[in-house]
Amino acid sequence: MTEQAVLDVAYQVAGGDFSQAGDGASRLKRVLQQIGLAPALARRIAVAAYEAELNIVIHAYSGVLRARVSPIQVEVWAEDEGPGIPDVDLAMQEGYSTAPDHVRALGFGAGMGLPNMRRNADTLEIKTVLGEGTVVYMVFANRAS
């Protein structure tokens, strides 16, 4: 059996820095375009990765957006050091948000982050430890391959 071609990428995300929010998702998007992923799939991944990245910026202290790209699927991890999510079920509800007012004033934190990730990803898993951090893991199947 030949070894599967995979590509690993990692982009640092700084908590609280809205000026760079979305850089990681944009760079991931370019990688997906370079390997020739179908535009609609690449966009779904970029949208979900952006929401995950934004959650780190809004809620956490620091984090990293990782992706493993293979011909059959794209896996995305958004790992952060942060407060953790007290109630994941509640956080998954559309419109539920714990974002502070100054963040909402910027037009972020509308409570659509996790719902958007769930809508776009084929698999969504959340591991969170209060006071330590959160890992959001998403899988996107490449059905064209």
Partner: protein, 430 residues
């Protein structure tokens, strides 16, 4: 093969790095001392023409000699053209001067813009819109979406740009007035930019343009300017303020959606807005008017007057034209509909085979680690990462980098010194 109106004068090109750095789609490479444009990537925005200190790039436009080939010729006057003159000059006199250059008719594109604005406004109220809707009026932006944002193509409004609609109106009016057939009518547009020239000769989609040719606005201006003193007659002016302000960034948005529109000009800024749309932001925006040139069409490379001055003039003219009595032309829906299917033209893909593309991308990351990341451009690519991309695509090599080459020469020299120091046993080795 793609038609492009931006052309290189090889004799003037010094092979410097100015244009490669400014190209928004990284379409230019310097090869053998000349700036070569990649056809598939170029969107005809004209940025390289602005960037070139040696005037080695220019726009190919059509010649007025073409007018002799047809019985009736109409000049479609772009809204931005009116911004070129001091506000004391009457618009009617400008139109009469243009007509005197050999046209049987003149038509203000502003009239068509008015009709298009109305149609788009109605469309935005319908239930079938993918928000934010994107304007089709700037062909460079349409092409940018085709090459860089193929997934946003279905955000475009399904209407042609005012230039095309103006061509339809002009042909229709002349046919009715003279009873002649389409072949006898020449339709010429005063273009402010290479993008519109390209749109005439190779429309953004699969269809064909109703415009016969595009004349350089700067050339037409030069002749009209001379005639303003001798031509005293005036042609009637039909365009409204709403149509005229399409000449400047924001004018189109105001004409279409009173709120919820976003106007962005300059291709770099347009790119960053489109990136946001791709990431799912800006869903609350109804309409995005993106224009490649700073200031809008008044900022085109074939425009004479400074875009900021032209902007003020257009605003002043618009105040003068702000009247309620300019009736909207009636144009059938079929004449407004985008005649072309917009297709993706992605260029980023490194290989048609996904496995091979992944391997190339891995190689690319390794190469990036070997390059100095100074983005000096001496290799002919706009930055180190672009060189790495070219290497994995097989169109460049690592030693194209002067720093890598220097290192290679250095280690070769070291090896030579080592070898030179080694004496054969018969001569000295103990």
């Amino acid at each position: 093969m793609y038609f492009h109106s931006v052309k290189l004068h090889e004799d003037r090109c010094k092979g410097c790095t100015n244009c490669i750095k400014r190209c928004p789609t990284e379409a230019i490479r310097v090869r053998q001392g000349k700036a070569i444009i990649d056809d598939a990537r170029c969107v005809d925005c004209g940025e390289c023409i602005r960037a070139c200190p040696n005037r080695a790039k220019s726009v190919v436009t059509d010649s007025r000699a073409e007018l002799a080939r047809r019985k009736h010729n109409v000049c479609l006057v772009a809204p931005s053209f009116f911004g070129q003159f001091r506000s004391e000059v009457a618009l009617g006199q400008v139109l009469a001067s243009i007509k005197s250059l050999g046209f049987s008719h003149v038509l203000e594109v502003a009239q068509a813009a008015d009709v298009v604005a109305e149609a788009i406004a109605r469309y935005l109220q319908s239930g079938s819109v993918r928000f934010p809707a994107l304007s089709t009026s700037c062909p460079a932006v349409v092409r940018l979406v085709q090459v860089r944002f193929p997934d946003l193509i279905d955000h475009f409004v399904p209407f042609d740009a005012p230039m095309e609609v103006a061509a339809y109106i002009a042909r229709d009016q002349i046919r009715q007035e003279t009873g002649c057939c389409d072949e006898d009518i020449g339709v010429f547009f005063t273009t402010p930019c290479p993008a519109k020239m390209t749109a005439v000769h190779q429309p953004v989609g699969q269809g064909f343009s109703q415009v016969t040719g595009a004349l350089s606005m700067a050339e037409v201006y030069a002749d009209v300017f001379k005639r303003l003193t001798t031509v005293t007659s005036e042609e009637p002016v039909y365009g409204s303020a709403r149509g005229l302000t399409w000449a400047v960034s924001g004018g189109e948005g105001v004409a279409i959606a009173k709120d919820g529109y976003l106007a962005v000009d300059g291709l770099q800024h347009v790119t960053s807005i489109l990136e946001q749309v791709e990431l799912g932001r800006l869903r609350s925006v109804k309409y995005i008017e993106g224009q490649a040139c700073v200031g809008g069409c008044v900022g085109g490379v074939l425009v004479v007057e400074n875009p900021f001055i032209a902007r003020v003039r257009v605003a002043r003219l618009a105040q003068r034209l702000n009247r309620a009595d300019s009736p909207l032309l009636s144009v059938p829906a079929s004449a407004l509909a985008l005649r072309q299917t917009l297709t993706p033209r992605p260029f980023l893909q490194l290989d048609a085979n996904i496995e091979a593309a992944l391997k190339k991308l891995n190689d690319l990351e390794i190469l990036v680690g070997q390059l100095p990341m100074l983005d000096c451009g001496a290799c002919g690519a706009p930055h180190c990462r672009a060189l790495a991309e070219d290497i994995v695509r097989g169109t460049a090599s690592l030693s194209d980098c002067v720093f890598v080459l220097r290192q290679q020469v250095n280690s070769l020299a070291g090896e030579l010194m080592d070898l030179a120091g080694k004496l054969p046993p018969a001569m000295g080795r103990s």
